[in-house]
């Protein structure tokens, strides 16, 4: 008997700041849109288990896209992108997500992202509080310096393995081997984009002085970080959440920087709580 997944994939073409992007996304479920951003240098398979988790897809329309230059989403088709160094900016990242949500006609979506996806979730809450029902920044902080490094794509090393193994101990040792090695595998595929993504993550994203301006009455912010994340350690996320009026912080025990990809079975327990808080705050 052939086993088909209920998850479907489609492409949608959008224009963002003059860039024509043919964007690939995976979708499953019905209900409140839950838009999921992968981590830097990776792609949407990080959300593979959430996309097939009936408890969530019975209530949420789960959409996990590949950011342009990642997975099956190409670099812009109308640019000679190979003639300039890729550096993702906060402005472009935010504009892309809003344009994608508009193109998919998503009404009041919840946005969830991990790592640089978590950092852009904070940017969305600040800049577009009325476009999103809530955001769930995972493994995020107001500022995350230190990872915009040349070593990720040094021509004298195997960049695929450097990226795969360079992120290895961002994961918790308790996470299942199969899932950690799948995450490693995904990271071998994104080495040419990783450093450019990290320009946003470690350089261009800095909301240190703007956290108090986030209006959580319009867009609740539920932050979650794993105890094995050395890059955005729990204390960094906790401090960020404490400076956002009514910001919420949930600490995730025994998990690392890629919770949805390295250990979905544990992550889902925390995600359930985050979504419960959002529904409590926004149902009225």
């Amino acid at each position: 008997m052939v086993k088909h997944s209920p998850v479907t994939g489609r492409y949608v073409t959008i224009d963002v700041d003059g860039c024509e992007y043919k964007v690939f996304y995976l979708q499953n479920g019905q209900g409140t849109p839950l838009v999921c951003q992968h981590t830097a240098g990776c792609h949407n398979h990080q959300w593979r288990d959430l996309l097939e988790d009936d408890e969530f897809t019975s209530k949420y329309n789960v959409i996990a896209y590949d950011l342009p230059r990642h997975g099956k989403s190409d670099p812009p088709h109308n640019k000679e992108w190979w003639k300039e160094e890729y550096r993702l900016t906060a402005d472009h990242f935010v504009n892309f997500i809003v344009k994608l949500c508009d193109a998919l006609e998503l009404e009041n979506p919840i946005f969830m992202g991990s790592s640089f996806g978590g950092n852009v979730a904070l940017q969305l809450a600040l800049r577009h509080p009325d476009r999103f029902r809530a955001v769930i920044p995972v493994e995020a902080a107001a500022h995350a310096p230190g990872f915009f490094l040349d070593l990720w794509r040094h021509p004298h090393a195997n960049a695929a393995q450097v990226c795969g193994s360079g992120i290895w101990d961002l994961m918790a040792p308790q996470s299942p081997d199969q899932d950690r090695w799948l995450t490693w595998h995904y990271y071998t595929q994104g080495s040419e984009s990783f450093k450019g993504d990290l320009y946003f993550y470690s350089v261009d994203h800095n909301l240190t002085d703007q956290l108090s301006q986030i209006d959580t009455k319009r867009c609740p912010v539920i932050m979650m970080t794993g105890t094995y994340d050395y890059l955005t350690p729990p204390e960094a996320t906790q401090e960020t959440a404490s400076k956002i009026p009514s910001g919420v912080y949930i600490e995730m025990e025994d998990i690392g920087h890629f919770p949805m990809s390295e250990n979905h079975q544990l992550f889902r327990e925390y995600l359930r709580e985050a979504l419960r808080i959002i529904m409590d705050r926004t149902d009225a």
Partner: protein, 127 residues
């Protein structure tokens, strides 16, 4: 466990490890493990431990070094290390581990070195 016994145990664990063996052919480098009062130079050739220098002199060469307190090395060797002691990058960002020398060689061998480093959780450390 004496330093010599540990060196043999580590070598055997590395040479028999299937994950290293799956991509071992070009795993060639020489690195120092500096555990405060104990220093070891591990020499890898084509995926196998070629030599374990357990009493290196100041003139003995190596490509890169990992230096940390003995306490940190003992934390590395727990079956499930505590947060921030669970890898070389976490410990270099958040604890006292220093990564020195020609780090490009480390990057060139990072996949297998990372697997090999985690063998400490099985064989322990000699400090």
């Amino acid at each position: 466990m004496t330093l010599s016994e540990w060196a043999i145990k580590f070598s055997e664990a590395s040479d028999q490890d299937k994950t290293i063996g799956a991509m071992a052919r070009y795993f060639t480098c020489k690195y120092m493990l500096d555990m405060e009062h104990t220093k070891i130079i591990v020499e890898m050739v084509d995926g196998k431990v070629y030599r374990m220098n357990i009493s290196p002199s100041g003139m003995d060469a190596y490509d890169f070094a990992l230096r940390a307190s003995a306490e940190t090395w003992r934390e590395f060797a727990r079956p499930i290390p505590k947060p921030m002691y669970h890898g070389i990058w976490s410990a270099s960002f958040r604890k006292d581990l220093k990564i020195e020398g020609n780090t490009l060689v480390l990057m060139q061998n990072l996949r297998n070195f990372t697997v090999q480093f985690e063998l400490l959780r099985k064989v322990g450390v000699p400090v």
